[in-house]
C-alpha cells in the first residue's frame, strides 16, 4: 500500500457491514449487526462462545451467505463482487485451517499463486510472510507435524501474504504461548496504521493491548461499541472483565 496523497481528511472506510443477519432455522445467530471499520482502526470483536463472532466474520469474508443485510470490503460487496472483495482481504478462519500434508512453504506458495504472484515475486512474498510470522525454522515441515502455535502462525502468514488493506482474524492468538502472543500483537500494531483490522478474541487483555475500538456481541446482537477506555467505564470497577460479564450475562442492566 503506497502513500496516499492529500485526498480526504476523513479516514477511509474499508469495511462496511449493514444489517447483517444470519438465521439457522428458528435460531438467530447474528441479529441485525451493523458497523464500519476505517483504515488505521483495530477493532476487537468480543463476546462469549457462540455469541455470533465467527458467523459474522464468515459473512464478512463472503464464505457464509447472510439471511439479510450486506457486507463490503474496500467498497466491493462480498457477495456480488466476491472475487474483488477477497483480493483486498486477508482472512484467518476459525481454528486456522491448513492442508495438513503440505509443507509450510509449499502451502504459502499455493496461496501466493492463487493471489496472482508468479516467479521471484511469489518467492519474495512467501519469504516475507515467513519472516513476519517467524516460521523460518519450519519452512519445509509438513503442517500436520507442527504445534498448535505454529499452525496458527501459518494461518496468519497466509492472511498477511499479499499485504491486504483489510485483515479479518478469527482468534489470531489462540493456542500461542505468551511470547508468541506478544509478537503477534506487536505485528498487528505495527501494521495497524495502513490497514483496517478486525480481530475476534475472548482474551480481554488483548483488547487493551492492541485494539483502538471494541465491539461486544452477545446472542447475535451488538451490546457495546467504543474504545476500550470507554467500555471500561461501563462498570464501576473500571475493569474490562467486569464490563464483559455485565454486558454478556446481565443484558438488561447493560442496555
Amino acid at each position: 500500500m503506497g502513500e496516499r496523497g492529500v485526498t480526504t481528511e476523513q479516514p477511509q472506510t474499508l469495511i462496511e457491514i449493514a444489517g447483517l443477519t444470519k438465521r439457522f432455522g428458528s435460531f438467530v445467530a447474528v441479529d441485525n449487526v451493523s458497523f464500519t471499520v476505517a483504515k488505521g482502526e483495530v477493532l476487537g470483536f468480543l463476546g462469549p462462545n457462540g455469541a455470533g463472532k465467527s458467523t459474522t466474520m464468515r459473512m464478512l469474508a463472503g464464505f457464509m451467505i447472510p439471511t439479510a443485510g450486506r457486507a463490503s470490503i474496500c467498497g466491493q460487496d462480498v457477495q456480488t463482487a466476491a472475487v474483488a472483495a477477497r483480493r483486498a482481504l486477508g482472512f484467518l478462519p476459525e481454528g486456522a485451517p491448513t492442508y495438513p500434508e503440505m509443507a509450510v512453504a509449499g502451502f504459502l506458495k499455493f496461496c501466493a499463486k492463487i493471489r496472482g504472484y508468479t516467479g521471484s515475486e511469489c518467492d519474495d512474498r512467501v519469504a516475507h510472510a515467513i519472516g513476519l510470522t517467524g516460521l523460518q525454522g519450519v519452512r519445509l515441515q509438513p503442517v500436520e507435524t507442527l504445534s498448535k502455535g505454529f499452525k496458527r502462525r501459518v494461518g496468519l502468514a497466509q492472511a498477511l501474504l499479499h499485504n491486504p488493506p483489510v485483515l479479518v482474524l478469527d482468534e489470531p492468538t489462540d493456542g500461542l504461548d505468551p511470547n508468541q502472543k506478544h509478537e503477534v500483537r506487536a505485528l498487528i500494531q505495527q501494521m495497524a496504521p495502513e490497514k483496517a483490522i478486525v480481530i475476534s478474541t475472548h482474551i480481554l487483555e488483548e483488547v487493551d493491548a492492541v485494539c483502538s475500538r471494541a465491539i461486544v456481541i452477545a446472542n447475535g446482537r451488538i451490546v457495546a461499541d467504543g474504545t476500550p477506555a470507554e467500555l471500561a467505564q461501563r462498570h464501576p470497577s473500571g475493569k474490562l472483565d467486569d464490563v464483559f460479564r455485565l454486558l454478556t450475562t446481565g443484558m438488561k442492566d447493560a442496555a
Partner: protein, 243 residues
C-alpha cells in the same frame, strides 16, 4: 484458467503426498490384472486385442472412482480448509474444475500404468493399436464421468460413506441403463422412459470406443455428462459450503 491449474496442481500433489495414490494405483492394477487375465481369459482367447481388459474397466472404475471422489469436498469440510479455499480470490467453479481435473489426471496416470497390457498383446501378436488407443480414450471418458458424479455427491453430504454409496448408485444406474433387463422392463410400462434410458446410458457408448468407433455424438454426450455434473457440483458447494 491459471487458478484452475494452481488448484489442480495442489490437489494432484496431495494425492501423492498421502498413501491414497499408492493404494489406489496398486489395487486398481491388481484388480484389473486379475480380472483381465483370469475372468477375461486373456490368453486362452488367443486373440491380440484388449477386449477383456476394456470389458472390466467400467466395473473396476465403478468401485474405485467413488472412493477417490468421496473425500474431495467432505475432507475440505472436515479440515475446515473449505473456508480457506473459498475465501481466496477464486470462483467456486474454478475450485470445482481444478479438483475434477486433478482427479482425472490422477486416473489418467493409473491408466497409463496399465501399459504392460499393451506391451503384452503387441509381443504376442499384432493388435490394432488404433482400436486400443480409442478404447483408452473411452476409459478416460468413463473415468471422467464417474469422477464428475462422485465429486458432486461429495459436495452433497458431509458424510463420506454416504457420498461413496450415492456415487456408486448413480454411476451404476447410468451404466446399466441400456441393459435389456432395464429397457425391457421400462418399455413394457413406460416406453418413453425406455428410450430416454437408452440414450442416457454410458456403457454402450463406451463399448463403441472399445470397437474403435469414435463418434462426435458420443464425445458430445460425455462432455455434456461431465459438464452437467460439474455444474451440479458448483451449485451444491455454493449452497452447502457453510453448513
Amino acid at each position: 484458467m491459471r487458478n484452475i491449474v494452481t488448484i489442480a496442481d495442489r490437489e494432484l500433489a496431495a494425492y501423492f503426498a498421502t498413501p491414497v495414490a499408492t493404494v489406489f494405483i496398486v489395487i486398481f492394477l491388481a484388480l484389473q490384472g486379475t480380472l483381465t487375465f483370469n475372468l477375461g481369459n486373456f490368453f486362452e482367447r488367443d486373440q491380440a486385442d484388449l477386449n477383456p481388459f476394456f470389458t472390466f474397466i467400467p466395473w473396476v472404475f465403478l468401485l474405485l472412482i467413488p472412493a477417490i471422489t468421496m473425500r474431495l469436498w467432505a475432507e475440505e469440510r472436515r479440515l475446515g480448509t473449505i473456508e480457506l479455499l473459498l475465501t481466496l480470490p477464486i470462483t467456486i467453479w474454478q475450485a470445482v474444475v481444478g479438483k475434477f481435473l486433478a482427479a482425472w489426471l490422477f486416473c489418467g496416470i493409473a491408466l497409463l500404468l496399465t501399459f504392460p497390457f499393451i506391451l503384452t498383446v503387441n509381443y504376442l501378436g499384432s493388435p490394432d493399436n488404433g482400436v486400443i488407443a480409442s478404447g483408452y480414450l473411452g476409459a478416460m471418458l468413463i473415468a471422467g464421468s464417474f469422477l464428475a458424479v462422485g465429486a458432486a455427491m461429495s459436495a452433497a453430504t458431509r458424510n463420506q460413506v454416504i457420498a461413496f454409496v450415492l456415487a456408486v448408485a448413480i454411476c451404476f444406474v447410468f451404466t446399466v441403463a441400456s441393459y435389456s433387463l432395464v429397457t425391457d422392463f421400462l418399455s413394457k410400462n413406460t416406453p418413453v422412459l425406455a428410450e430416454i434410458a437408452r440414450r442416457l446410458a454410458i456403457l454402450e457408448r463406451f463399448q463403441a470406443f472399445t470397437r474403435g468407433v469414435i463418434s462426435a455424438r458420443d464425445l458430445v454426450y460425455f462432455a455434456s455428462f461431465i459438464g452437467f455434473w460439474l455444474f451440479v457440483n458448483t451449485v451444491l458447494v455454493e449452497q452447502r459450503k457453510a453448513d
